[in-house]
């Protein structure tokens, strides 16, 4: 039988605040364990939570970026369960009155544009971090708890069950990450856990409108593992169903080492969270003007920017994807494009030599000064330097931030391209290398490169190679 795969994602992102959601403890990552804790985030009796304004702003901004309808009135509830990463034995979350409802993300899959709908966007608090000692997850021993993470503002985004393969889910997640990075709400680092994704996945006979029994897949720690885990789970469910079996509603853990999912035995009733309104937090009421101001300052989103880049700068689709897939790269391109009009040339340099130099030097795109890059390209366009010199200057500019114009002046790197200057050098090289001259006469292209190289060496790389080629041809073949 043919099956249709139905996947819905539940994404959690830590918001970029300095302090936690309900207290002044720092949110900094990777500090001494339990060094960022206080009575509020430890849930000590008598402590009271107070909302962090920035966390609310970032949540609303994220909701707006995702076209989710911001609710002017929302409520926080307690989600009750016992687990050592939860110091209060409940998580402050949102249940039936979330911060934002609906929304969608536009993406392209297999050449087709599509909208993936969202159910909701809501705000909650992070749990602490558990470290499982020992080699096996099951068995005797103990776990270590670090509450530094407990209480960091966490945004939950839930999609409608509208994804249909591991690859599509991964691409959606990558696009979602780009949107959230553009919106500036989170650093979205899967490897540090500031972006996490769980998936609900079920199979149904093709054409059927009823959803099959779903399994929840957790512990996918990279974009790649999301795709692998879901593809694995699809195969597993297919085998179960094809053999006439039934899929159990259960939670599976993705094992990165073994590349397979494992069922976590679930016990009936264990998901009775007994949500009830958080008595310590009054309803969150937002002014229309507060939301409008955040909407006004929302930057252009990647999908729109992608289209604009193709139209405004005549970039290839692939290039537009590349330049907008990374907000900083797009920003650099646009900053230079304001003062340098050869967009084609600019695009080539950024995706070629500049990216290479950034990788080599370990510098960040943000550190590149747009005006300097424009200066460099102009020097080359005006024929004042040649290509090899331009590449060297680029490397130095990236490394030290020096203006290529200054470097050219300081070091006398201007290109030598006049006939009068080049001819004497050329004649000397011809006189000194009779063998190469003869080889070239007989049609060996390599001999020409050798002769050009000699002049380049004599001029410390400043001669105009195109002009040299022409002159040698004229002198020897002519």
């Amino acid at each position: 039988m043919k099956y249709e795969v139905v996947i819905g994602l539940e994404i959690h992102v830590e918001l970029l605040t300095a302090s936690k959601l309900f207290c002044g403890c720092s949110t900094a990552f990777g500090r001494e364990p339990n060094s960022h804790c206080c009575p509020v985030c430890l849930g000590l009796p008598g402590s009271l939570p107070v909302f962090n304004r920035r966390a609310i702003e970032l949540s609303v901004t994220a909701a707006l970026a995702l076209k989710s309808e911001v609710q002017l009135r929302s409520r926080f509830d307690r989600k009750n369960y016992f687990y050592p990463d939860l110091p209060k034995a409940y998580q402050v979350s949102q249940f039936d009155q979330p911060l934002a409802r609906g929304g969608y993300l536009a993406m392209e899959y297999e050449g087709k544009k599509k909208l993936i709908n969202l159910e909701r966007v809501h705000l909650e608090e992070e749990a602490g971090k558990l470290i499982h000692a020992g080699d096996s997850i099951i068995g005797a021993g103990h776990s270590l708890v670090d509450y530094n993470r407990a209480g960091i503002p966490l945004l939950e985004i839930v999609t409608a069950p509208e994804l249909h393969s591991g690859e599509e889910a991964r691409l959606f997640l990558e696009d979602l990450r780009t949107v959230l990075l553009y919106a500036g709400v989170s650093d979205c680092k899967m490897e540090e856990g500031s972006l996490r994704c769980d998936a609900n996945i079920s199979l149904r006979p093709a054409g059927s409108s009823e959803l099959g029994t779903k399994a929840e897949v957790k512990n996918m720690n990279s974009f790649r593992s999301v795709e692998l885990a879901l593809d694995y789970e699809i195969k597993r469910q297919q085998q179960v169903l094809s053999a006439g079996g039934v899929v159990n509603q259960e939670t599976c853990h993705w094992d990165e080492e073994k590349k397979q999912t494992f069922s976590m035995r679930s016990k009936e009733g264990s998901s009775d969270y007994r949500y009830f309104p958080e008595p310590d937090l009054l309803p969150l009421v937002l002014e229309k003007s507060f939301v409008a101001e955040l909407a006004r300052t929302l930057p252009e989103m990647p999908a729109k920017r992608r289209e604009r880049f193709q139209e405004q700068y005549n970039l290839e689709k692939k290039e537009a994807f590349m330049f907008t897939g990374n907000r900083e790269m797009g920003d650099l391109f646009e900053a230079v494009a304001k003062i340098y009009r050869d967009y084609r040339n600019l695009a080539n340099w950024i995706q070629g030599d500049l990216l290479y130099q950034l990788r080599e030097s370990g510098k960040k795109i943000k550190e590149v000064e747009p005006a300097l890059l424009a200066n460099l390209l102009r020097l080359l366009d005006e024929g004042r330097i040649n290509r090899p010199v331009a590449k060297e200057l680029l490397a130095e500019m990236v490394q030290t931030g020096t203006d290529p114009v200054d470097l050219v002046k300081e070091r006398g790197l201007e290109q030598i391209s006049s006939r009068e200057s080049l001819l004497p050098l050329l004649e000397q090289v011809i006189a000194e290398n009779p063998e190469a001259v003869e080889n070239y006469r007989q049609g060996k292209k390599k001999a020409l490169a050798f002769l050009v190289g000699k002049v380049m060496a004599a001029t410390k790389g400043r001669a105009d190679p195109a002009e040299l080629n022409r002159l040698f041809e004229e002198k020897i073949q002519g």
Partner: protein, 102 residues
């Protein structure tokens, strides 16, 4: 609607990790029954047009600025912690946590 209040008490007690003696269970089952009876009476009221109330005041929540404040020193955090390992709290292994509910 026949509710087995003894079973309800068992269930709630398990969720709350409470151990109750048989006579406590019996007493609580009676109290739970009374509480639900009262709730049912309230539910008989016509609340058409009345907004559900979750909080007794109509004041919206207050927001604070996003400023980092000092946290507690480790020795204060660990003051009531039964077991620790250097800077961490030490708890019984919880992987396969469902087992410990049995």
């Amino acid at each position: 609607m026949a509710v087995d209040f003894n079973a309800e008490v068992d269930y709630v007690a398990r969720l709350a990790r409470l151990f109750l003696e048989p006579d406590e269970k019996k007493r609580m089952a009676g109290q739970l029954s009374d509480i639900l009876k009262t709730a049912r009476r309230i539910q008989e009221l016509d609340t058409t047009g009345v907004e559900p109330t979750s909080h007794v005041t109509e004041v919206p929540a207050v927001l604070r600025e996003d400023q980092v404040k000092p946290s507690l020193p480790l020795n204060r955090i660990m003051q009531n912690v039964p077991r620790r390992d250097k800077g961490y709290l030490k708890v019984p292994r919880i992987a396969d946590s469902q087992q410990d509910q049995d």
